[in-house]
Amino acid sequence: MNKKKSFLSNLLAAPHILWSIIFIVVPLFVVVYYAFTNAEGDFTLENIFELKAYIPTFLLSLWYGLLSTLICFIIAYPFAYILSQFSANSQRVMMMLIMLPMWMNLLIRTYSWMLILERNGILNKVLDIFGLASENGFLNSGGAVVLGMVYNYLPYMILPIYTIMSKLDPSVVAAAQDLGGNRFDVLRRVVFPLSLPGVVSGITMVFVPSVSTFYISQKLGGGSFMLIGDAIESQFQSANNFNLGASLSLVLMVLILISMAVMNKFTDSDDTGGAIV
């Protein structure tokens, strides 16, 4: 009985497994292969040693990724918390508004920000009325890059947190109040711990694309900022050094895996579940 069932489930899982092999495992091997070979296809560690030059780039990427994740969290958490207390109807409308930009292409969204932030952009024109315009506009700055990341990835932070919040058992919250908890106690001792799985998946879903983005930094950073995503892209696109590009990707991947493992440590201890990832 049991055996039969597991055979059946294996069979049903087959397309998924095939898909994973073709699109995940094979590319991974290709990346590893390129990372440890030179242009002639011989084994070498040179690509890895060459990465030393990219340490500042890695650090900058990590820093921007962390910063935008933190800002997203600071905005998204209270937002999701308050939203979950609204009436069911307003919750639906608000969620629609949040999802709306996600239906637009990333390129278009980023271009719109360029139009807003550039020297003759809308923002500067408005500020000009008050005599506050910035001489060079706001593009091509670290701030613009972080803004772009926050804007693009904020919904990925809100969604998982909101999903968990809206499923919180109201009587558990009431119980905390009943036992003497004021609003802050309830938030700190009950709501936050119970929403942790959502927070963790939110952080992962924002941090990973922020660290590895190249488009946002190119357009809003104006090329004055080289993030690790840009470095990888240029190795493949212009420098045509697949081997270095692959080793950069590999290290980025390892970094991301490590940060995800650290994040998951937080939720492993309790199995309340509900994480989206």
Partner: protein
């Protein structure tokens, strides 16, 4: 007497979305008593508890606690604790931390917390469960943790919202005794909610029968059972035959084509009344010796007794007796004066107490349909 009252609800009205849920509710609760709200699903029991706990502010009326009006005191500042209808334990905390929750909020010293939690676990028979995960507990054990958690806060009043509803019959009986013991040991007021009339009668000092957001009757279990105020109460508490009658004069009542002696007085001459006769208070005798006569239409064996339905002049009576009377047999009924209880006519007259369409499934079905109507 007056000082003895811990909670006083005065003219409480609550409505949700314009729909009145509690209608001008008046009730006082004495210190240290075990009081039970009893009523069908959706009648407003939980709502009343939430008003007392502070989760709902009534549209009008006063909530008085210890002679002080507490309408706008938030739940966390009230000296009451609640055991919620679905335990509402904290899933991210273990048993110890669940029980210690209130004490930690009060910043109680470590030693006091440990002593209290240990004492509470002992009280609810869960010694050694400190480190256990909430999800790993059975329903009965979760229930005990919920009780311990509420009691650890040393409330003056404990609100219990159908705490035993999810337990099986045997466990429920055990827990009923335990709860009663705990209440007496701790010497605090219990406000208990149930829709199980047997539970209400066996545990309470005072029973409050509610229907549709209105209190139907308040009294001791014996008084509620023996002297129901109207057809709703008579029908909800135990089984009742409720027959139309006419009060001829004090101690004389006509029903089912016979004049009976009774113990009730104070009605207008020839006033129309509802007459209640409990099925177990009817004696079955030979046809020619009966005050009224009828034909048996169905018999059900119930273990302790037979439940016999008798057609008397078109009205079906339920009779409980240890003797078996086969279907079709003609029998006579003998009713003592103290088995007859007279009630004034009410909005519920004629709705209950006739067993002509009787079957237990049908009873439940009709209950449910009433509920659905209310929820919309």
């Amino acid at each position: 007497m007056e000082n003895n009252i811990i909670i006083d609800l005065k003219n409480i009205s609550v409505s949700f979305d314009g729909e009145p849920i509690l209608k001008d509710l008046n009730l006082y609760i004495r210190d240290k008593e075990f009081i039970t709200f009893l009523g069908p699903s959706g009648c407003g029991k939980t709502t009343t508890l939430r008003v007392i706990a502070g989760f709902i502010e009534p549209d009008s009326g006063d909530v008085i606690f210890d002679n002080k009006r507490i309408n706008d005191v938030p739940p966390h500042k009230r000296q009451v604790n609640t055991i919620f209808q679905r335990y509402a334990l904290f899933p991210h905390l273990n048993v110890f931390e669940n029980i210690a929750f209130g004490l930690r909020l009060k910043k109680a010293p470590k030693q006091e917390i440990e002593e209290t939690v240990t004492a509470m676990l002992k009280l609810v028979n869960l010694k050694g469960f400190e480190k256990r995960n909430i999800q790993s507990l059975s329903g009965g054990q979760q229930q005990r943790v919920a009780i311990a958690r509420a009691l650890a806060n040393k409330p003056r009043v404990l609100l219990l919202d159908e705490p035993l509803g999810a337990l099986d019959l045997k466990l429920r009986k055990d827990m009923q005794n335990e709860l009663k013991n705990i209440q007496q040991q701790m010497g605090i007021t219990f406000i208990y909610v149930t829709h199980d009339q047997e539970e209400a009668l066996s545990m309470s000092d005072t029973v409050v029968v509610m229907n549709n957001g209105v209190i139907q009757q308040i009294g001791t279990p014996i008084k509620i059972y023996n002297e129901p105020k109207n057809a709703f109460v008579a029908d909800f508490i135990g089984e009742s035959n409720i027959i139309d009658g006419i009060m001829r004069e004090d101690f004389q009542v006509d029903f089912s084509g016979h004049r009976f002696e009774c113990l009730d007085k104070g009605f207008a001459p020839n006033e129309k009344v509802d007459v209640v006769v409990r099925p177990e208070d009817v004696d079955v005798v030979d046809v020619d010796k009966g005050m009224v006569k009828g034909e048996v239409t169905s018999v059900t064996f119930k273990g302790v007794h037979f439940e016999t339905i008798v057609d008397i002049g078109g009205f079906k009576w339920m009779i409980q007796s240890t003797d078996y009377h086969e279907v079709g047999k003609k029998i006579g009924l003998f009713i003592e004066p103290d088995a007859i209880h007279i009630m004034k006519k009410s909005e519920y007259s004629g709705l209950y107490g006739d067993y002509s369409s009787f079957s237990e499934e049908f009873d439940e079905l009709s209950d449910a349909s009433v509920d659905n109507g209310e929820e919309e």
